[in-house]
């Protein structure tokens, strides 16, 4: 096979912080080459260097055996490189066809665009992808997964030879991912070189011809399809063997019912949801974006309204009017959107820790007791293993995994009876992820009732005692987590028949 992209001894630093060390790598035509690594391993940086968005400090990139200058996205494109970015790069105020042809508009010599022709071609490309979307639709009115597919359509329309897909499946459902993989395989058959980045190792194993692992900006090694087992990839990513990803299941399942929900409904969001949550257990709530899972949580804690249904918290009937009241009554919600809704990014760790339980550290005349704050903060940092171990550190300076731990700590300080965590490990490294999982189990073992919302099936299966499945606003079933498989859960989610 001929080499499409040859990366030779690339170095890159940001503000004196070196993120890539002498990375050399070769990608061939007709292969799907996956890049794995924890967050911050340098995957996206490397891709952005190939895509002409960043420039390397040293090292060369060979395209078709010749040294190439890739200083702008435009130059990369002229070398036949196209990239689907991890963060979506669509302009949602524009229509689909605008986005597909952005900066490559078909124009007359005076720069007037050929609208009809572009619309027609956009339609052809969308049809090739089996998408039923009118190219004149505004992107803002499309669901997230569709936008991801349009991003891919944009790449296809560019007719490039090297395709870089940076976490294209993170917002896609299982079915959509499979459709994407079929497309990738057919592009591979056509002789294109495809670089694929994903956190989901199952996908990586399924689709790749070779897997390259990066750790801390260094290339650890490249595995062939046969060598690429989950254990092998993970140990290369983390730098050590992780024997146990997931903690053991609940010790006791006969705890008191802490949260009892009956027929909860909110118009257009969720309908007729009933379940019990016991002290000491972790109930996994599986559902994709749009399944109504987050909306259910927001209504439970009073951040949104609820149309009907009854909630019992502990022994008493409960209806939260505001999140503040929910926190006071011992029900806390850990948001999936830690930057927008969870953390005070500009504030210190200790301020974040006590932000949900200020009355506990407030003395006479509303004065905050600095000593008490410090001791709570030091305890939590210790317990959660937050790095850096400084209470004064600003939250924004922490890595994603550590931010998530701080967010968890914020709610621990409030010491709730019932804790709802929404996507607790999204965007978090494998190491920190497993940390968070063990922490959640420890909380449950101490008698907390935990409802864990997640769209990550391995996480749901690994951590939950029971699994509750939601799809399109409806409860599709509550399953005991013994011999459950991913397929089993998917079948319940998409199945017509409700399981009792």
């Amino acid at each position: 096979m001929t080499e499409a992209v040859g990366i030779k001894k690339i170095n890159k630093s940001f503000f004196g912080n070196q993120v890539l060390h002498d990375v050399s790598l070769s990608i061939d035509y007709g292969e799907i080459h996956s890049i794995c690594g924890e967050n911050g391993a340098g995957k996206s940086t490397l891709m952005k260097i190939i895509g002409g968005i960043y420039s390397a400090n040293s090292g060369t990139i060979m395209i078709n055996g010749q040294e190439a200058s890739l200083r702008t996205p435009q130059e990369a494109y002229l070398h036949g490189i196209g990239i689907v970015h991890q963060e979506l790069s669509l302009s949602d105020n524009m229509s689909v066809w605008h986005n597909i042809f952005v900066n490559r508009e078909l124009t007359s010599p005076l720069g007037f665009i050929k609208r009809r022709e572009m619309q027609r071609r956009a339609e052809e490309i969308l049809q090739k992808l089996d998408m039923r979307v009118d190219p004149r639709t505004k992107v803002s009115s499309l669901p997230f997964a569709t936008r991801q597919m349009i991003e891919i359509a944009k790449l296809l329309s560019m007719d490039v030879d090297v395709l870089i897909l940076d976490e294209p499946t993170s917002a896609l459902s299982e079915r959509e991912s499979q459709a994407l993989f079929e497309l990738m395989l057919s592009l591979k058959e056509q002789g294109k070189a495809i670089i694929f980045i994903s956190h989901k190792l199952d996908e990586v194993k399924q689709i790749s011809d070779r897997v390259t692992v990066l750790r801390d900006g260094r290339l650890v090694g490249t595995l062939t399809k046969e060598e690429a087992t989950t254990e092998r990839i993970v140990s290369m990513m983390v730098g050590r063997d992780i024997d146990e990803f997931y903690p053991p299941k609940a010790k006791r399942r006969d705890g008191k019912i802490m949260l009892k929900c009956s027929s909860l409904s909110r118009k257009d969001k969720f309908e007729d949801i009933s379940f019990d949550l016991r002290a000491g257990e972790i109930l996994g709530l599986y559902g994709l974006v749009g399944s109504g899972r987050t909306e259910l949580a927001l209504s439970l804690v009073g951040a949104d309204k609820m149309d009907s249904g009854a909630v019992q918290l502990g022994d008493k009937p409960f209806r939260a009017k505001s999140p503040r009241q929910a926190v006071k009554s011992g029900l806390c919600y850990l948001s999936e959107d830690r930057k927008q809704l969870g953390l005070f990014l500009e504030m210190s760790l200790e301020e974040n820790f006590v932000s949900s339980s200020l009355e506990k550290v407030t003395g006479q005349f509303g004065v905050i007791q600095g000593k008490q704050v410090k001791s709570i903060s030091t305890n939590l940092i210790e317990q959660l293993g937050v790095v850096p171990r400084r209470s004064e550190a600003v939250a924004a300076s922490l890595s994603g995994g550590n931010q998530q731990k701080v967010l968890l700590g914020k709610w621990l300080a409030a010491n709730p009876q019932v804790l709802i965590v929404d996507e607790p490990s999204r965007g978090v490294d494998i190491g920190a992820k497993s940390n968070i999982h063990f922490l959640l189990r420890e909380l449950a073992d101490r008698g907390m009732a935990v409802l864990m919302i997640s769209s990550d099936l391995p996480e749901i299966l690994g951590l939950s005692d029971r699994v509750m499945v939601m799809h399109e606003g409806r409860l599709k079933g509550i399953l005991e987590n013994t011999d459950l498989t991913q397929e089993g859960i998917m079948n319940v989610a998409y199945g017509e028949v409700e399981t009792p």
Partner: protein
């Protein structure tokens, strides 16, 4: 029929409301006073808002790019003053116009460079520019009105084409040009990408800084054009020209549906309607004998209403 329905559905809701209001005002005013619907009154109405209308085209581009430019309130009188001074020095009319437009372009260029290099919000940069230019205008004119322009120029300024005054003609030509450019010209299309999401526009290979430079320069150039036209209409120039004009311009753009807080939203056709709407309102005020002092009260209310319409009522899901 299907096409017509699609066209109707395609119309922005806010624009539909403004259009509806314009029709309502016309009906009410026409019933009240038949003179309202005459061509004469239409000319009066237009004269009252043409400078703002022309400047609103440039402002639309700036606002769609996600920026703002209030310095046009200083460019407008400066252009008039420079024009008048050059005319009095006996310079060729058309050469003088060209120079004034180039000065406009230079001011836009400086605005953008300050924004780019110093990384200051365009509101601050252009506010500084506005104050600077106001002072400069006073210094140049010593606070006096510059009149007694060459007779030949006055004659030229008063000629009409097909019964249209210069400002009206320029407005119509600019409306058509800006409309078609904004819909179909590649660089103008990129303004929407840059305003909607600057980082994704950059990822797509759009040279965003080039787009910003273009919109700020065009905006100042259009303000200079309006200033030249003011010299032609008033046969004089003064540092007092266009007090608060920048705010009326921004209001017209906002009423036309552009978002002042979030780029990528707004259109030339919306701005045309916004300008027409304000022109009619001002005219209606005068005709119904309401004190002119209340005009600004109303403009303020309209600005809030327009933004509420955009952000609360017709919020795009």
């Amino acid at each position: 029929m299907k096409r017509v329905m699609n066209a109707i559905r395609g119309i922005d809701k806010q624009m539909a409301v403004i259009l509806f209001l314009i029709v309502m005002i016309t009906i009410v005013m026409a019933l009240d006073n038949p003179y309202f619907l005459t061509l004469d009154n239409f000319a009066v109405m237009a004269d009252g808002f043409l400078f703002e209308g022309i400047m609103a085209f440039g402002m639309t581009l700036v606002i769609v790019s996600g920026g703002i430019d209030i310095s046009v309130g200083g460019v407008f009188p400066l252009a008039a003053i420079l024009m008048a001074l050059m005319l009095r020095s006996g310079l060729n009319y058309y050469l003088a116009m060209l120079i004034v437009i180039l000065v406009g372009a230079l001011i836009g260029f400086i605005n953008n460079e300050l924004r780019r290099i110093l990384k200051i919000h365009p509101m601050i940069v252009t506010m500084a520019m506005l104050l600077t230019l106001r002072g400069l205008n006073l210094a140049i004119t010593d606070g006096r009105v510059i009149s007694r322009l060459p007779a030949g120029f006055i004659e030229m300024a008063n000629t009409r084409f097909l019964g249209l005054s210069w400002p009206m003609l320029v407005y119509i030509v600019l409306a058509i040009v800006c409309f078609s450019l904004s819909k179909r010209q590649r660089s103008f299309l990129h303004i929407y990408f840059v305003g909607g999401n600057p980082s994704s526009a950059a990822l797509s290979g759009i040279r965003t800084e080039r787009v910003y430079r273009m919109v700020y320069m065009l905006n100042s150039m259009l303000a200079a054009v309006a200033g030249i036209l003011a010299t032609m209409v008033y046969n004089s120039a003064s540092s007092n020209f266009g007090q608060g004009i920048e705010m009326r311009v921004i209001t017209a753009v906002a009423i036309g549906g552009a978002s002042l807080t979030k780029g990528g939203i707004g259109s030339i056709e919306g701005t045309i309607l916004g300008s027409l709407f304000l022109a009619m309102i001002y005219n209606a005020f005068i005709m119904s004998g309401v004190s002119a002092y209340y005009q600004d009260v109303f403009t303020g209310l309209m600005l809030v209403t327009a933004v509420v319409l955009r952000t609360q009522v017709f919020r795009k899901e």
